[in-house]
C-alpha cells in the first residue's frame, strides 16, 4: 500500500517538453519505447516539463510488453505537476480530433496530467481512454472539452482498467463513461469527481452480464440534471456503487453502502475550477471509505499526493486540516490555491504566515479573526483585509506585523492603535500609520523616505513623549531633531546640513561626551564650551575658530581640549580640570 502513483522497477526516464528536452512529441517517445519491457527488465518513463502554457499533442500507448513490475509511465517531472486544478501544471490542449491519452497497454499509467480536447469538428471523442488491463489514469484532469460532437472526459472500455483521483469538469459530454463489452472484466473508478459536465457524471454501459463496475468514493455534482450517476447497461452486470455522493438523487440507485444523495458540496473555489473540499464542506468530508487495503488497487493518497486521513473524504481531495493543525511554525503561501490551504492553516494554528496572491483574502479574514501570530500581508489584498475586519480583531492580537503596499493605511491604523511592538512600515500610507504609531507606542523606529515630510508634523508627540534611540536621516531632520534634543537625553548620531541647529540644542541641554564633525561645528563648540564640562575632540574647518577662541569662551568650566591639527605641544589644552 502506498501512493496511487505506481513506479516501475528499473525506470529509464526521458524528458518531454520544448526543444531543449529529449522529446517534443509524445508519439516519438511512445514509438521509440514500444519494446519488451519485461525481457529488458526496464520500465520506460516519460517525465513532462511545464515548458509551455500547453502542448498540442496526443498519443496512443500500445504495443509494449509489460507486467506489474515493468511497464510504461507518462507523468510530470518533479515539481511540474498540477495543483489539483486545471489551472497549473503540465497541460495538453489538443485541437486534433483524437484522444489525448489513449492507454491500451496492460499496467501502464498516465499520472497527474491536465488535458483539454477541443477539435474544430468531431463526431464524439474522449479526452482519456483506458482499455488495457489494470492500465491506470491517476490524478488526471479533463476539462472544458468541446467540439461539434460531444467530448467526454474519461472513457474506460474493454480490458479492465482503473481510474483514481481523477477529475472531469465542464466537458460537453460525459465526465466518466465506462463500457464493458468484454466478458468478466472489472472496470474501476476510485475517488474521482465529475462536475458540470453537459451529459452524465458517471455512466455505465455494457452488454455483458459478467462485467463488474465498481465506483467507490466518487462524487458527481452539477452535471446534466438527474444524471450524476447513470446506468445504460443491459444484461444486468454487477454494479457496485459505494460511498459515492451526488448532488442529485442518483448515487444510491444501485443500493450499496455509504452512498449520499442530494448533497450540497462546498468546494474551495469552484468558480476558479478549484474543487478541493472546503473547510466547511458537509457533503463529502469524512464520508468515504478507506481503500488503503483494497484488494485490486490499494492506495492512500489524493490528487495532491497528500496522504489520506483516518476518515477518507469522497472525491479526489482529502481535506488535511488536521495534519497542518499539529504543526506550528512559519509558512510561505503563494498562488491561487492559497484559499484552501489557508483554511487549513488557520484552523487553530499559531504561527507566522506570509500570504500573497489574489486569494489571500479568505485566509486573511480567518487569520485576523482568530489566530494570534505574526502576519505579512502584501499587495492589494490589504484592501480587503482592512475592509473585512473589525477593530476588535486587531486589538486582540499583539505581535509583529509587516505591512506593505498602498492599502496599508487603514490596516495599519488598527494595528497600531492596539498593539505595541516593532513595526516596519513602507509606502505612501505610512503617513497615517506613523501618526498613530508615534502617538501611542514607545519603541524603536526606522523612518526613511519622502514620508518624513509628514512625519515631521507628528514629532511633537513623538519626541516629547518617548525616550529611546533614534536614527534620523534626510532633509527633514531639522525640525525633528529640534524637538528631540530639547527633551530627551541620550546618544544621537546626527549627520547632514542640519547639524547646526541640532548642535545648539544638544549643547544647551545635554551633559555628555560629543564627537563633532562638519563645517558647522563652530557654533556647536561655542555652546558646548560655554555650558558643559567634559572632554572634546574637535576637527573640521571650524575647529580652529573654536580652538583659538577658547580662552574667552572658557570662563567657568573645566575642559580637556584636543586639537589634532595644532602644532606639537599645543594640541592639548587643559583648563581648570578638576581631576
Amino acid at each position: 500500500m502506498g501512493s496511487a502513483r505506481k513506479t516501475g522497477t528499473n525506470e529509464s526516464i526521458h524528458t518531454y517538453g520544448n526543444g531543449t528536452r529529449q522529446y517534443t512529441s509524445l508519439q516519438t517517445w511512445e514509438d521509440a519505447h514500444t519494446v519488451d519491457c519485461v525481457a529488458t527488465t526496464t520500465s520506460h518513463v516519460l517525465e513532462c516539463y511545464d515548458d509551455a502554457a500547453s502542448f498540442n499533442d496526443y498519443v496512443t500507448i500500445a504495443g509494449a510488453t509489460t507486467n506489474a513490475t515493468y511497464f510504461r509511465i507518462v507523468r510530470p517531472a518533479a515539481g511540474q505537476g498540477h495543483d489539483g486544478t486545471p489551472n497549473n501544471g503540465v497541460s495538453f490542449f489538443l485541437t486534433t480530433d483524437a484522444v489525448v491519452f489513449s492507454l491500451s497497454e496492460t499496467y501502464s499509467q498516465v499520472q497527474d496530467l491536465i488535458a483539454k480536447l477541443t477539435p474544430a469538428t468531431s463526431a464524439g471523442r474522449n479526452t482519456y481512454v483506458i482499455s488495457g488491463t489494470l492500465a491506470a489514469m491517476i490524478g488526471c484532469i479533463a476539462f472544458n472539452g468541446a467540439s461539434t460532437g460531444l467530448v467526454s472526459g474519461f472513457s474506460m472500455i474493454g480490458g479492465g482498467g482503473i481510474c483514481v483521483d481523477c477529475f472531469a469538469h465542464n466537458n460537453t459530454g460525459v465526465g466518466f463513461v465506462t463500457a464493458g463489452y468484454t466478458a468478466s472484466k472489472d472496470l474501476r473508478f476510485y475517488n474521482c469527481i465529475a462536475t458540470n459536465n453537459g451529459a452524465q457524471g458517471f455512466k455505465m454501459a455494457s452488454n455483458q452480464a459478467t462485467v463488474v463496475f465498481t465506483f467507490t468514493n466518487c462524487l458527481a455534482s452539477g452535471n446534466l440534471a438527474n444524471n450524476d450517476f447513470i446506468d445504460a447497461t443491459s444484461n444486468s452486470p454487477t454494479r457496485t456503487v459505494t460511498y459515492c455522493a451526488s448532488g442529485d438523487a442518483t448515487a444510491d440507485d444501485w443500493g450499496g453502502a455509504g452512498n449520499r444523495i442530494s448533497q450540497t458540496f462546498t468546494f474551495a473555489n469552484s468558480g476558479g475550477d478549484d474543487f478541493h473540499l472546503a473547510y466547511g464542506d458537509a457533503g463529502a468530508r469524512n464520508y468515504g471509505t478507506d481503500l488503503s487495503a483494497d484488494g485490486t488497487y490499494a492506495f492512500n493518497d489524493d490528487i495532491d499526493k497528500a496522504v489520506r486521513g483516518a476518515s477518507w473524504d469522497i472525491g479526489f481531495d482529502e481535506y488535511v486540516a488536521y495534519t497542518i493543525a499539529a504543526d506550528s511554525g512559519s509558512y510561505g503561501i503563494t498562488g491561487v490555491v492559497v484559499g484552501t490551504l489557508a483554511d487549513r492553516l488557520i484552523d487553530g494554528l499559531a504561527g507566522s504566515y506570509a500570504l500573497t496572491g489574489i486569494t489571500a483574502f479568505p485566509l486573511v479574514g480567518r487569520m485576523l479573526s482568530g489566530d494570534p501570530g505574526g502576519y505579512a500581508v502584501t499587495g492589494f489584498v490589504a484592501d480587503l483585509v482592512h475592509g473585512g475586519i473589525g477593530a476588535y480583531v486587531l486589538t486582540a492580537e499583539p505581535g509583529s506585523y509587516l505591512v506593505f503596499g498602498t492599502d496599508t493605511g487603514l490596516l495599519a491604523t488598527r494595528i497600531l492603535n492596539a498593539n505595541p511592538g516593532g513595526y516596519i512600515i513602507t509606502g505612501q500610507e505610512a503617513i497615517t500609520l506613523a501618526q498613530r504609531l508615534i502617538s501611542a507606542n514607545p519603541g524603536t523606529y526606522g523612518l526613511t523616505g519622502f514620508d518624513a515630510e509628514f512625519l515631521r508634523s507628528t514629532f511633537e508627540y513623538f519626541l516629547n513623549a518617548e525616550p529611546g534611540s533614534y536614527l534620523i536621516v534626510g532633509s527633514e531632520a531639522k525640525s525633528i531633531l529640534g524637538r528631540m534634543l530639547s527633551a530627551n537625553p541620550g546618544a544621537y548620531t546626527v549627520t547632514g546640513q542640519e547639524a547646526v541647529t541640532i548642535a545648539r540644542r544638544v549643547l544647551n541641554a545635554g551633559v555628555g561626551d560629543y564627537i563633532l564633525t562638519g563645517r558647522s561645528t563652530s557654533l556647536l563648540a561655542n555652546r558646548t564650551l560655554n555650558c558643559n564640562n567634559g572632554i572634546y575632540i574637535l576637527s573640521g574647518s571650524d575647529a580652529n575658530l573654536i580652538y583659538t577662541g577658547l580662552p574667552s569662551l572658557i570662563k567657568y568650566r573645566n575642559f580637556l581640549i584636543y586639537k589634532p591639527s595644532a602644532p606639537m605641544g599645543r594640541r592639548i589644552r587643559i583648563i581648570k580640570l578638576p581631576y
Binding site: 526521458h14 524528458t15 518531454y16 520544448n18 526543444g19 531543449t20 528536452r21 529529449q22 522529446y23 517534443t24 512529441s25 508519439q27 516519438t28 514509438d31 521509440a32 514500444t34 519494446v35 496512443t60 500500445a62 504495443g63 509494449a64 485541437t95 486534433t96 480530433d97 483524437a98 484522444v99 489513449s102 491500451s104 477539435p119 474544430a120 469538428t121 468531431s122 463526431a123 464524439g124 471523442r125 474522449n126 481512454v129 482499455s131 460532437g149 460531444l150 467526454s152 472513457s155 474506460m156 472500455i157 474493454g158 459530454g173 460525459v174 463513461v177 465506462t178 463500457a179 463489452y181 451529459a199 452524465q200 455512466k203 454501459a205 445504460a232
Partner: protein, 160 residues
C-alpha cells in the same frame, strides 16, 4: 502546406514498426528534441494544397487498423456510449521508404548515408534543410500505393 515529419528508421515487425513509418507530424520548422533527432529522420515535406491544417496533416500518423479506417473512428455511439476502437495491426499506416527518400534526395542534390541514418545513437539529419514534395513519396501500406493528391483530400476529410 509544409510540415515537419519524424519517420522511424528501424524495423521491428513484432512491435508493428515498419522502416520509414510516419511517427509524428508537426508544423514546419519544428524544433525536435535531443533524442528525437538521433532516433528519427526528420523531413520537411510539402503536402501541397489538399491539406491545409496541422490537425489534418497529423492524420498521416494514423495506425494501420484492421477496419481500414483512414482515421480514428468516433469514440462514442449515438447514445454517448463508448465504442471500442478498431484493432491496430501496425503502428502506422503510412510510411516513406528510405530507399525512395535516398533517391529523391539525390535528385535534390543531397546525399543520404543510410548506415548513418540507422545509427540511432548519433544525430544525423542530412536533409533537414530541404523540402521534399509528397508526390511519389508516401506509401499507403493498406492500398500498397503511393499517395496522390486525391488521397490527401480523402485523408483531409476523414472523420469530418
Amino acid at each position: 502546406m509544409k510540415v515537419s515529419i519524424a519517420i522511424g528508421v528501424d524495423s521491428v515487425p513484432e512491435r508493428g514498426k515498419d522502416e520509414g513509418r510516419i511517427v509524428a507530424v508537426k508544423p514546419s520548422g519544428w524544433k525536435w528534441g535531443t533524442e528525437e533527432v538521433k532516433q528519427f529522420l526528420i523531413l520537411e515535406v510539402d503536402l501541397g494544397s489538399s491539406i491545409a491544417t496541422i490537425e489534418d496533416a497529423q492524420k498521416l500518423t494514423v495506425p494501420h487498423f484492421d477496419t481500414g479506417d483512414l482515421w480514428w473512428p468516433s469514440s462514442e455511439d449515438k447514445d454517448g456510449n463508448p465504442i471500442e476502437p478498431p484493432k491496430i495491426l501496425a503502428k502506422r499506416r503510412y510510411n516513406i521508404p528510405l530507399t525512395d527518400l535516398v533517391a529523391k534526395a539525390q535528385v535534390l542534390g543531397k546525399t543520404i548515408d543510410l548506415a548513418k541514418v540507422k545509427d540511432m545513437t548519433v544525430e544525423y539529419q542530412p536533409i533537414k534543410a530541404i523540402t521534399i514534395p509528397f508526390a511519389t513519396m508516401i506509401l499507403d501500406r493498406v492500398k500498397g500505393t503511393k499517395l496522390i493528391a486525391t488521397d490527401l483530400v480523402e485523408i483531409n476529410n476523414a472523420g469530418k
